[in-house]
């Protein structure tokens, strides 16, 4: 097969890296997150400066001490010097401590702020986005990319600025001592620059492709953990391991490729800086021999140049960090720049739950998935009266699930409109709308949290009585028999519960909200006949004054509804009472006839 798995569309697009300018500009956009810390940042930079000065002040004093009191044999003056050095040394250490402490705390805070913002943004992105993006890719952005940005701001950047400052100061001193020799040093900057530019061109895309692949590996790991039962049931562990190995091998190759690019440039940096010292030494020696320069000047010159070695050597590392941070910023902003497709229109209205009568009207609603030209819904017209319960029936793939995702705007129709009490739902505030229209899906999504938290998902302020009531309606009393009752943590996706139990919890969760419009997608499919009957009886009371749209698969559930609508080929083919439709519509009979369930021995 196809063990070559498809990449999500966005990812394959982004495999070609964006132009370099945008990389820097994305990193620059992070300033927004630095802004709240501007005073602390200013203070931090002052500390850095002081720290550099305190560090630089000590060596000359040591020199003075050797040339002065020690040479003169003045023990008291030596004591004086030593005392000053000790004080300076202590303050240097303390400054260093404070600086590092602040730097680290701030960088962590900024990272956490960005993570929070990214999370918030992801929450409001439409489900279409989430369907296409593997969770591992999102996770990589939220953890490792933000980590890279943080490390750059906490380490690389401070380092870079310090070494640039040092380089400028030293170059100035070199010029002052002997400008001709300084020109040699300056000339060595040309190949350094060229190598640096080449490095940027190669490293940036390499880092990007490595980070992308790292997300693929996380996705593979996550998927095979989630699908562990399916994998074990088929004994496909070795196959999955082989696939994972392929992804991991790709990651290894990309990582090595990135490092090879680094190895080509960094080695040049070291060699050129060393060669420059050699050149200065040779020319300087000739100049000294010819009497155009003093030995002392040459010594000073070369010593200073030696001090330059370290910032130059380190710049490769700093550049790599910078590159990775830019790539990370790109990847993070890729998500930030995705506009939520479903959001409040300008001038969206707030509504009050108590004012809602609950009339739901579909007007010529069409829907097609983004990457699919064919329309799943081809003009649905349906009017649900306030308090009425309408069942939606239809074949697999007829668009039932799509249809019920529309009233709470989990998807927006591509054409036509949906009205709630006469107002287009897109003109209502999203948060408002979803508190009025509640949807329970065919597959119960439970979270590994307490039962209580899962039940109160849509209404955090629900009290014990509300929960109890909902549990009763959904016949989910089994929750009280769990080891810690409502406080029991149910496992991931509630997988330690049976399908019927999960479905009852999901139903209870929807009922707790007490919405004006309740949308249930095949809510009783996993229940046994006896329980189903009990749930239906309890649910009838709830549905009495609630407008409801219920997707049904079997005739027993149809009993809940006042009327049934048959969805056929993207349209509502007919609406009516179950018994009427059984007589008038052959398609309906085909979909809901109990005949097929009769015993065939």
């Amino acid at each position: 097969m196809g063990s070559e798995r498809l990449k999500t569309p966005e990812l394959s697009e982004t495999d070609t890296p964006p132009p370099r300018r945008s990389a820097l500009s994305n990193l620059w956009r992070i300033k927004k997150y630095l802004y709240p810390y501007r005073f602390r940042l200013a203070f931090l930079w002052a500390m850095v400066l002081l720290n550099i000065i305190s560090g630089l002040a000590i060596p000359p004093l040591v020199g003075e001490a050797i040339d002065g009191p020690i040479a003169e044999g003045d023990l008291r003056r030596l004591g004086f010097f030593v005392a000053i050095i000790a004080v300076l040394g202590a303050s240097d250490a303390i400054l260093n401590l404070i600086r590092r402490y602040m730097q680290t705390s701030m960088a962590m805070s900024i990272e956490a702020d960005m993570r929070g913002a990214l999370y918030q943004h992801l929450q409001v992105l439409h489900t279409g986005f989430h369907d296409r993006w593997q969770t591992g890719q999102l996770l990589a952005r939220v953890t490792s990319d933000l980590g890279m940005i943080r490390r750059f701001f906490a380490g690389g950047l401070v380092f870079a600025i310090t070494s640039v400052g040092m380089t400028v100061i030293i170059l100035g001193q070199l010029l002052f001592i002997e400008w001709r020799l300084a020109l040699i040093v300056a000339a060595s900057a040309v190949p350094l620059f060229l190598i640096g530019r080449k490095f940027f061109q190669g490293y940036l895309p390499a880092a990007r492709s490595e980070q992308d692949q790292s997300g693929e590996v996380s996705s593979a790991a996550e998927e095979s953990a989630l699908g562990i039962r399916a994998i074990k049931a088929l004994g496909r562990g070795p196959l999955m391991a082989a696939r994972f190995e392929k992804e991991a091998a790709e990651l290894r190759e990309r990582g090595i490729n990135k490092s090879l690019i680094a190895s080509r440039s960094w080695s040049g940096y070291d060699a050129i800086a060393t060669a420059a010292i050699g050149a200065v030494l040779v020319f300087g020696s000739v100049m000294v021999a010819e009497g155009r320069m003093s030995v002392g000047d040459l010594t000073a010159f070369v010593m200073l140049q030696l001090a330059l070695l370290w910032p130059i050597e380190a710049s490769g590392w700093v550049m790599a960090h910078g590159n990775e941070a830019m790539t990370a910023a790109d990847r993070v902003y890729e998500v930030f720049d995705t506009e939520p497709a479903i959001k409040d229109r300008p001038g969206a209205r707030a509504i009050d739950r108590s004012e809602i009568r609950g009339e739901l009207v579909f007007e010529n609603v069409t829907f097609a998935y983004e990457d699919d030209s064919r329309e799943i819904l081809q003009g649905v017209d349906l009017r649900v009266k306030p308090g009425e319960t309408i069942a939606i029936a239809g074949k697999t793939g007829s668009g039932k699930s799509t249809l019920v995702s529309l009233p709470s705007r989990l998807n927006d129709p591509t054409g036509g409109r949906i009205l709630l009490d006469g107002t287009d739902i897109r003109d209502l505030r999203l948060a408002n709308l979803r508190s009025v229209v509640t949807t329970a899906f065919e597959e119960a999504t439970l979270f590994s949290m307490s039962v209580r938290e899962n039940l109160a998902l849509g209404r955090p302020d629900a009290d014990e009585r509300d929960l109890e009531e909902a549990v009763r309606v959904a016949q989910a009393e089994f929750v009280y028999d769990l080891p810690y009752g409502l406080d029991t943590r149910i496992g991931e996706q509630g997988l330690s519960l049976s399908g019927g139990q999960r479905q009852r919890l999901a139903l209870a969760r929807a009922v707790v909200v007490k919405p004006a419009v309740l949308v249930l997608d095949d809510p009783l499919s996993a229940l046994d006949v006896h329980t189903e009957e009990l749930v239906e009886r309890a649910l009838e009371q709830v549905l009495q004054d609630t407008t409801a749209l219920v997707v049904v698969h079997r005739p027993s559930t149809v009993a809940l509804a006042d009327r049934v609508a048959l969805l056929h080929e993207g349209r509502i083919a007919c609406v009516g009472k179950h018994s009427e439709l059984m007589e008038t519509s052959p398609e309906y009979v085909d979909v809901l006839s109990a005949e097929s369930e009769e015993v065939v021995a």
Binding site: T135, G235, L251, P483, E492, R509, D528
Partner: protein, 618 residues
Amino acid sequence: MTVTDKPDKHVSWRGRAESAEADRTSAELDDEQSIKELRSQSRKLLGSMMRPHKKAIAFLCGILVVQNFTSMATPLLVMFGIDNAIPAISERGDYSILIAIAITFAVVSIVKYICVRLYIAQSAKVSAAMLFALRNRVFKKFQRLSVSFHERFTSGRVTARQSSDMEAIREMTENGVDDLVLAGLNVVTITIVMLVIDARLAAVSLLTFPLMLLLGRWFSKVSALAYRRARETVALLIVYFVESMGGVRAVQAYRREERDRELFAGLNTDNKFAQAKGHQQNAFMSGGMRGIGHLATVVVLLFGGWQVMQGNTEVGVLAAFLLYMKRFFDPLNELVQFYNTLQSATSALEKISGVLDERVEVAEPEEPRSIERPQGELRFDNVRFQYREDHVVLPGLDLRIPGGQTMALVGATGAGKTTIAKLVSRFYDPKAGTVRLDGVDLRELSEHDLRANIVMITQENFLFNGTIAENIELGKPGASHERIMEAAKVVGAHEFIESLPEGYDTHVRKRGGRLSAGQRQLVVFARAFLADPRVLILDEATSSLDIPSERLVQRALRTILADRTAIIIAHRLSTVEIADRVLVLEHGRIIEDGHPNDLIDHGGEYATLHRQWEDSLV
């Protein structure tokens, strides 16, 4: 300083897990003993990671030694040039020394170039290879661990171990190991040089050494706790992130965003403080190291100055000493930064070694037996099973299912139906008694034969990232397109698949989000039929199907199950009707056993259920 004593403030919303160790591997307990053990395990793990690369690592060390020499050579050459070459030129017009120095410089530059280039390239290869091996090892281990382990450990934590923990180790192997080695070499070289120049002065200047060791020990002790805690907080963060993003539809539909944000913010803040803590301790270490460096300067200056005044040593020696002190401490100061990475990686290694050492509850047999063309006879002998100590699910089940029989399990929730299915597919092993296929204990059966012969379809309907064809093909990797299509036709999935824009090559999107639950179920059915097992278990496998699909599946089942052993769990009796035999369970015991028609006539529990079901159809 024991961070772990702190009560978990998230307990309220996370709820209480059935076991306190739900979040951890059994190696990660908090007592002193386990922490020590974990540490030594993680060292062993590191050793085992490095062992295959012994030669390459030795080679890398060699490169570093050479590189160290080239770095030392530069100042020496400068000194030699000024002291010898200049006088030779100005006095004798002799350029030969200068030329020799120029050539040496050229050689040094080239050697340095080669060293750096070789080192980066080689070390990247070694570290990438080590990580690659570790990733695969961890992945395979997770695949081997039992379903019950996964259920309590959660997929988020599995992901965390394979993403952020691996990342922490990668950070370490990629950055700074050379600095560590170079600094070590540097410390040794300079100590020797100082001892040779003036042993007494050297002894005094090394007085600060114990202080450094003390500081280092303090840091590694407190920071180990901090970094360990940080790995756990980041794992919690990842767990929450993965879950709430996986269930984003529910989050949006229930306007859960705000509460989610709140909880995530709580975890985010915890993680921030936990991460910052280690780094802040590192700031103390960094400041302390600088302070000790300055202290050393002060001591040497004072003592050395006094010695010079006493005439015991030369000014030049003192100057050299002070310069060496600086070169001694500078790299160490740089190294302190690397310590962060190192501690993070150590904690990550501990977490990973905890996973690798976790006992596999449902282990593969050491001497696996295989069966050729099994009949498909299943046998339970006095099988006892419980998930929790105080709650026995199966007290002692005796059951024989002859090869080729289709048996349906009926009973209330908690009667033990799914448990029987899970025991047959060996998701769990019985606590007592045996489950046999054709007389072979499942625990002795080779993994391959077990999975080739017994396949379970659950209500979970998990689809993998990929196309529909790829998902079906999982049943029999390498199956031809025709076979895949055939399987889809048999279960009645062909029609809807063909109607999709790209047919069988339609990408199902994350977790099959493109398809409805019923469609996913059909794909999973096709996958199982392609697998063609002797024993097929259907655990509520038809619940999401609508009536026309179910009709098709049922028709297909009749032919498919004809020559297979099958266990069917279904609350919808329409599926049960095709069974040769029905077993009614209550609290893990069989209360009725017989042909469905006989049971209906018999007028027991099943007859009641059947009547209720018939009523529901009207």
